[in-house]
Amino acid sequence: MLETSVNGTANGAVNGSANGVNGSANGVDTANGVNGTSGANGANGAAPGRVPVPVPPSPRAALPLTVKDFKTDQEVRWCPGCGDYAILAAVQGLMPTLGIKRENLVFISGIGCSSRFPYYMNTYGMHSIHGRAPTIATGLAVTRPDLSVWVVTGDGDALSIGGNHLIHALRRNVNLKILLFNNRIYGLTKGQYSPTSEQGKITKSTPVGSPDTPFNPLSLALGAEAGFLARSIDSDRKHLTEVLAAAAAHQGTALVEIYQNCNIFNDGAFDPVKDPATRDARLIRLAHGQPVLTGDGRKAVRTDTGGYALAPESDPRPAVVHDAHVSGPEHAFALSRLADPTTLDATAIGILRDIQRPTYDQTLNRQLEQAHDQHGRGDLTALLAGNDTWSITGN
């Protein structure tokens, strides 16, 4: 998987649509991007009537980059032992393999512990305001299709204060990679329950237990028409890297929920699926075209009617085979909800869904091209005059 580039060969091979979306732009190195503004002096010349050009992939790095190229000189200020370190290392490790020019990578975050992430990535980055990262990333991705835009967010940032923006980014299918660090707690504000905390959870703001029903982030995203959905775990570097590589390859919004340990305020929240002694009985590692089984192979999803549930080996029915590219959301939805929210039994990780549909930025930019083809380059003089003028002489 690691050789996968943003051109989506992984998806293309499976459903044949990713390459179609990318058209023939494969390998085009357009440093000046779609607006002609990304170059150093792009705006000089005040060329009237910009001509929209086809959407290119992000320019390829001329020389191979290394992990070191993506590290900043900033002191990382997460608590020692925080799961964010592992995610940062995985992302920094992934970046060189994408082959994208470093200057064409942008990380945008909201507020929260996870949202400090851009400071530690030696790319372009913005640490914005609480919940709004998808909006800023949308404006950037739509005007600059030559960029690879990543959003880093947490369960509070993405699902509470920014819930509206998350679902609308997903439904529009803007070309964004959204990494949702889910630690089921508010860390930066020191330990209040979050929209993914279990019901009954005792926290600083819920001394007798949280009365809230939590969100299931992936179920929510499916309701918002998400085309790419995956789940991984901070400490599983290999799995996380594979999932992130597939997300990078996806054209459109890709949402990756990453179970992340907050060792200060919610330590051990994901131990049932991390502990080597117990995890294989609980975890389902999804692989496209493979049966849906627990890690120890002892239980499988064996139903084809209604909701999914694990059944033991003794069940005579065959195991459900995972298809990440099936067009309807039902299969992914059932997988997203397989886990017991408290015990984490039957937690499915991996790519739940990976389907192609037109991206918002491509559609909008195509409309610009069509307008240009139909009406020619905009003529400001003609626009200002309109159809109904009169002349006054003298004075």
């Binding site: 991007g33 150093a40 900033q74 709004r132 739509v142 009169w390 002489t393």
Partner: protein, 633 residues
């Protein structure tokens, strides 16, 4: 046939008049705004100076025949240059009893009222509280009333057309327009052309509207109801090519012009809101100018996307009204901190909260000035007339791009929907807004994203995609120069002051405030901002025509103020600040200059009349004379 003018063999005498104010009022479904627009277009084409004031309810189709459902359009046109849509109508066209009742209080005695008698049924009268028809009770005796059966005449004129009665009735606004066109000697060919264009796909409807329009015109010609018709000669305006333009359209064009003159693609992030939505509609039509419009999920996303686009090197704009600004405040603060160019257009309306969505007000000045957490200064510009929205948009873009800052543009509902003739500018004469993006230093020095330009104090605009300038910005306080996170007390103090100083420096590139004081001997200065320009200037003219001396200055820049403002204020004994709020500019002026400015404040959702301002100004002139007299004694 199409577009041919009617042959005018006018029998009735024609009286020449200097100006007239016409108000057309009816149900919000009666097509009053369209009728007004067409009459305006005819008038503009004829070469009159003009000014319009649409006034419609927030409800799209309030119950028919009720007072809340009344929609009106006022047009003032003249043979000389005019500044306002007129204080009071000389002519009221009332399409039903509700329209008469809702508007009669504004109509001075002696004015002309044309009523559509067909709608004066007992039921319609009762609906708005008339016990008997005002046409019969004598309560309109002080007016020149023309009772015309507009609806039935329209239906009769359309007898040959294959239309239902309801469809035929719908053309009554065109019948009324035809009658008005005759009455004021308006050219007709453009309206006929317009109908062809508008109903190109529905020739039957085009034909019906055309017939109704011509029938209304002929009615004026043949009836003896109207003893005279009127002629308002073309106005002697400065030479050039003109068009009619509304404030929102001018604003949209100004943004496109700013994009063209800067060479930056225009990105609009917006959420629909009255009275700003027309800017979104207009810009969405101009994709061949490279304009991207994004209808966001909410106000916050609208400005967020615009800011993201600005980070990427686009001209980022968001358009909204007061309630939207409230939601965008946090992102405006982020833009202040990021020091990226961004334009926030606030088309003000009556507030607080939902307030009066379709009515005008100027009560967002302090919100634009202070409505954010922390010390977050933002430059503010305001247009003075509908056409001026074009120049204001270019000026907002100039400030945003030069100083790398969010900028507020404060228009309002009156400017947005009002219209006036506009001398079309030569594109080459528009300001050059080209910008220089940051480039890596040749000697390999590390990039400093917060190193300021010594002149403007703006920071470099380094757009993603530029190798060697990778950097991180954010809402946490940044260290001077490096832009790294800094909680250092001295640094924060420095950065807060640097951002304030940068905004202050905008005044370096703003022309001194111009004062209109023809005699040079005025003791009273009227200081205005935004859409009060027309009524204030008209009132000053009236005062001067009566022999009074008054000076008028109008602020384009509300933050920072022009450098000479203090000096200007100190040159007058009295400073009057009329505002459609409870004294927001006055508060700023009094705080900054310690000048005892007097406010004149109304929040009625309507522009000031020049008559009321004339009285206020004359009162102040009287006061200064009295004080002077006392001093002399």
């Amino acid at each position: 046939m199409a577009g041919e003018a009617i042959e005018d063999k006018r029998a009735a005498p024609v009286e020449r008049i200097g100006s007239v104010v016409i108000r057309i009022a009816g149900d919000s479904g009666d097509g009053m705004q369209l009728t007004g627009d067409r009459f305006t277009a005819e008038t503009a084409a004829y070469g009159n100076d003009l000014s319009t004031l649409p006034n419609f309810p927030a409800e799209i189709r309030a119950p028919a025949g009720t007072l809340p459902g009344v929609s009106a359009f006022q047009l003032h046109f003249a043979d000389h240059d005019i500044l306002t849509p007129g204080d009071a109508p000389d002519v009221l066209v009332a399409m039903n009893p509700a329209a008469l009742k809702a508007n009669l209080k504004d109509v001075p005695r002696g004015a002309t009222i044309i009523v559509n008698t067909d709608e004066f049924t007992p039921r319609a009268l009762t609906k708005v509280g008339y016990a008997a028809s005002p046409l019969e009770t004598g309560e309109l005796d002080a007016y020149r009333v023309h009772a015309v059966a507009l609806t039935s005449s329209t239906v009769k004129a359309l007898e040959g057309h294959a239309l239902t009665r309801k469809e035929a009735e719908r053309a009554k606004n065109m019948y009324a327009l035809g009658l008005l066109s005759w009455l004021y000697n308006r050219p007709t060919e453009r309206t006929l052309q317009f109908l062809e264009r508008k109903f190109a796909g529905r020739p039957q409807i085009a034909a019906a509207n055309r017939t109704a329009f011509l029938a209304g015109w002929s009615f004026g010609e043949t009836t003896e109801e109207f003893a005279v018709s009127y002629e308002v000669a073309p106005a002697a305006l400065p030479g050039g090519r003109y068009r009619n333009i509304s404030g929102n359209l001018a604003l949209a064009y100004g943004l496109i012009a700013a994009s063209q003159r800067s060479g930056l693609p225009l990105f609009l992030g917006s959420y629909p809101i009255t009275p700003a939505s027309d800017i979104l509609h207009e810009l969405s039509k101009h994709k061949n100018f490279g304009v991207r419009t994004f209808q966001a999920e909410d106000e916050i996303a609208g400005i967020g996307a615009a800011l993201g686009a600005a980070f990427g090197g686009a001209l980022g704009v968001t358009t909204t009204s007061g309630p939207g600004v409230a939601l965008k405040s946090e992102t405006v603060g982020l833009a202040v901190s990021l020091e990226l160019p961004l334009i926030i257009c606030d088309i003000q309306r009556g507030g607080p909260s939902t307030g009066l969505p379709t009515k005008t007000e100027q009560a967002d000045l302090l919100q634009a000035m202070f409505g954010r957490n922390g010390e977050a200064p933002v430059p503010i510009v305001a247009p003075r007339s509908p056409a001026d929205c074009f120049d204001a948009a270019l000026e907002a873009a100039r400030i945003a791009l030069t100083y790398r800052t969010p900028v507020f543009l404060l228009s309002d509902g009156y400017l947005a929907n009002g219209s006036e003739p506009w001398r079309i500018p030569d594109v080459e004469s528009l300001p050059d807004l080209r910008v220089q993006f940051a480039v890596p230093s040749e000697d390999g020095e590390p990039f400093l994203p917060y190193q300021r330009d010594p002149e403007t104090l703006a920071r470099p605009w380094a757009v993603p995609g530029t190798a060697g300038l990778e950097h991180r910005i954010g809402g946490i306080e940044k260290a001077d120069g490096t832009g790294e996170i800094s909680y250092d007390p001295a640094n924060h103090d420095l950065m807060v002051r640097a951002r304030a100083a940068k905004v202050e420096r905008v005044a370096d590139t703003v022309a001194p405030l111009d004062v209109d004081d023809p005699g040079g001997d005025a003791r009273v200065l009227v200081l205005g901002w935004g859409s009060t320009f027309g009524p204030v200037a008209a009132a000053c003219r009236k005062v001067r025509a009566r022999g009074g001396a008054v000076a008028h200055a109008h602020l384009r820049h509300l933050n920072p103020f022009p450098r000479n403002l203090g000096e200007v204020l100190r040159g007058y004994e009295k400073v009057l600040i009329p505002e459609m709020n409870l004294g927001q500019l006055a508060l700023l002026i009094r705080a900054k200059y310690l000048v005892d400015a007097v406010g004149y404040n109304k929040v009625r959702g309507l522009p000031f009349t020049s008559a009321e301002l004339t009285e206020v100004i004359q009162g102040l002139i009287g006061d200064t004379a009295a004080v002077k007299g006392l001093g002399d004694a």
